[in-house]
């Protein structure tokens, strides 16, 4: 595939993302307006009079006919206007942008921890299968998919903040603040990384070019780290892309445990405050980021691996 067709591929991906994004907007719209719940009543509280509720409906534009509401909603979205937060009185987009960097920070450090611990563990258990380290990878992978991470976070706080007094238990500010939340979130990600690294390394170590490398008399270290790992890299990058959803979901829980001032904590707080414009804005923002990141990840694979490139290309053609 040439550069030309690669850019065509990127363009195709972007075009295919449009219906998905419209779908997300539609779902958000339906969620607030069509489902049996009444946001205006929820905002006003159960004791409020019908007049107050009606007033809130007018402020939110919920009293207009559905199609008008939809047009209003879409046109303001196109202008980048997500509405005004009921709690802060500021534009929703401003609140989101203030908190988003914290979530990104947490996500990156957590992914880094997961990779730094997960990949070596995966390699060890591939190089020495059927030993204790082989089981370690299975166990870590299982824990990743079965651990209530908010509980793990609390346990870490008890151990490191209360018992050992080593690390702060909540908040942000110094680099030390991010260690516990990042470890907590990393546990969610690590399982898959260990498992995939192990599988990819085993496959890679059994292939012909490794036999050739060994036959050439290269040392085992060079064979494993230079040759085998390089070829195992693609599935590892793939799994990191597939985990974006876990990363976001996990961030909501983790931020809540450690009072980490990211978007997840803001979302939970705004639900308690029934700040509907803010809730909608954050969810829409998260989903859009998710879609865009997925496209970026796909394009990165396409750049790394010609085989992936071909199969992605085929997949798009079929759609």
């Amino acid at each position: 595939m040439t550069i030309m067709s690669l850019s065509k591929y990127v363009l195709m991906r972007l075009i295919h993302a449009i219906p998905t994004l419209i779908g997300i907007v539609l779902i958000m719209f339906i969620l607030v307006r069509v489902l049996p719940g009444d946001p205006a009543r929820l905002i006003a509280g159960m004791e409020a009079t019908e007049e107050d509720v009606q007033k809130i409906r007018e402020i939110l534009g919920l009293n207009k006919p559905l199609h008008e509401q939809f047009i209003d909603y879409i046109s303001s979205l196109l202008k980048g206007d997500l509405g005004t937060s009921l709690k802060f009185g500021t534009p929703v987009i401003k609140e989101i942008m203030a908190r988003f960097p914290y979530t990104v920070q947490l996500a990156i450090v957590a992914e880094l921890f997961a990779v730094l611990i997960g990949i070596p563990l995966g390699i060890i258990s591939a190089v020495k299968p059927y030993t204790k380290s082989g089981y370690v990878s299975t166990i870590i992978s299982l824990i990743g998919s079965s651990m209530p991470i908010y509980w793990l976070g609390l346990m870490l706080i008890y151990l490191f903040s209360v018992h050992l007094r080593l690390l702060p238990s909540h908040g942000a500010g110094t680099p030390r603040h991010i260690i516990l939340p990042a470890i907590t979130l990393a546990v969610l990600l690590m399982g898959n990384i260990v498992r995939i690294t192990r599988t990819a390394m085993i496959e890679s170590l059994e292939s012909n070019y490794i036999t050739t490398a060994r036959a050439k008399g290269l040392s085992e270290k060079i064979v494993v780290y230079r040759h085998a790992l390089k070829n195992a890299a693609i599935p590892i990058v793939t799994i990191m892309g597939l985990q974006l959803g876990s990363l976001m979901g996990g961030a909501i829980l983790t931020e809540s445990v450690f009072a980490w001032p990211g978007l997840g904590l803001l979302l939970v707080d705004s639900i308690f405050f029934r700040d509907y414009p803010l809730i909608q804005g954050i969810i829409l923002f998260f989903a859009t980021v998710f879609v865009i990141l997925n496209i970026i990840v796909d394009v990165i694979y396409a750049l790394i691996d010609p085989r992936v490139r071909e199969s992605l290309w085929m997949r798009e053609q079929r759609l």
Partner: protein, 302 residues
């Protein structure tokens, strides 16, 4: 029906029984999965019998005994209201496992129906359903559940519905994939040729062939929905206190973490054990499945 047909039908039925037996034998070779199945059986029995086997009243508070650490009299200690945590964990199994079961039932049945329609009818019906699935899949599952809860409101039924809905897209994809595999089999084509109605074909010929992978997927989802529903409970967006759902117990106990960690330790351990067992049983079932359909069943995470 002549005698020959009857013999053939009898043979087919026998083959089916044999296959089921084989699946069970294959499952049994996975010791971890088998052990987890026993643990789950015990947990489910506890959940069913919960109100009759709690040593104390799970709601009876006694502030003089608040936050008492574990002792012989109350092995898991007492919570901030002096309630017996063991009794609350026992009753909580009902809510935690129950909510997960309800949501898997809701998500599984709705997803199954739409997946069957999407896969069987194809063309524009398939197209519309698949685009909606795409949009739903672009929400991380916990986020979608939170979005739904923020509109429907908190509480047991709403949480079950919200978490259930957020599992639908994966079920649609799974069922559709399976239907596409089965659709071109000879017996389906034969049924169509002799003029059977679509509804009949779907129920008699397609459904029985897609149901087992859907059940395996549900086993994985039981593990995940327990984590998500209890996560919502922890955030204060799930089952509300004083109902002793495990996540809710952790959420209300976290304030006392510094002085009395036992309040959050035990409910969390039970979430971990239950989710772990469902995942291990899921692994066992999955490996016992036909390899052709095995690839379609997805391991799921938050």
């Amino acid at each position: 029906m002549d005698e020959r047909t009857e013999v053939i039908i009898e043979k087919l039925k026998k083959a089916k029984r044999e296959q089921l037996k084989l699946t069970w034998l294959r499952f049994k070779t996975n010791k971890a999965a088998l052990f987890s199945l026993y643990v789950l059986a015990i947990l489910i029995i506890i959940a069913i019998l919960a109100p009759y086997i709690t040593p104390e009243d799970p709601y009876a508070f006694d502030l003089r005994r608040a936050l008492e650490p574990p002792s012989l009299a109350s092995p898991f200690g007492r919570d901030e209201m002096g309630r017996d945590i063991l009794s609350r964990v026992i009753l909580g199994s009902r809510y935690s496992i129950g909510v997960a079961f309800l949501s898997v039932l809701i998500g599984g049945s709705v997803g199954l129906v739409f997946g069957l329609i999407s896969g069987y009818y194809g063309e524009w019906v398939d197209h519309i359903i698949q685009r909606i699935t795409d949009a739903l899949l672009s929400f991380p599952m916990l986020l979608l559940a939170i979005a739904l809860v923020s509109v429907l409101g908190v509480g047991l039924a709403n949480v079950a519905v919200s978490v259930g809905i957020s599992t639908i897209p994966v079920y649609i994809r799974l069922t559709r994939g399976l239907v596409l595999q089965v659709k071109s089999e000879d017996y389906v084509i034969a049924a169509r040729v002799i003029g059977k109605k679509s509804g009949y074909i779907i129920f008699r010929h397609i459904l029985p062939n897609v149901i087992s992978p859907v059940i395996v997927q549900s086993t994985y989802y039981m593990g995940l929905t327990i984590l998500i529903a209890s996560g919502l409970g922890f955030l204060g967006l799930g089952v509300q206190p004083p109902t002793p759902e495990w996540g809710t117990m952790i959420g209300s106990g976290r304030t006392y973490l510094f002085s009395s960690p036992h309040v959050v330790v035990f409910p969390g351990l039970f979430i971990l054990i239950t989710a772990l067992c469902f995942n291990l049983v899921g692994d066992g079932f999955r490996d016992a499945l036909d390899p052709r359909v095995r690839v379609l069943v997805k391991k799921v995470k938050i």
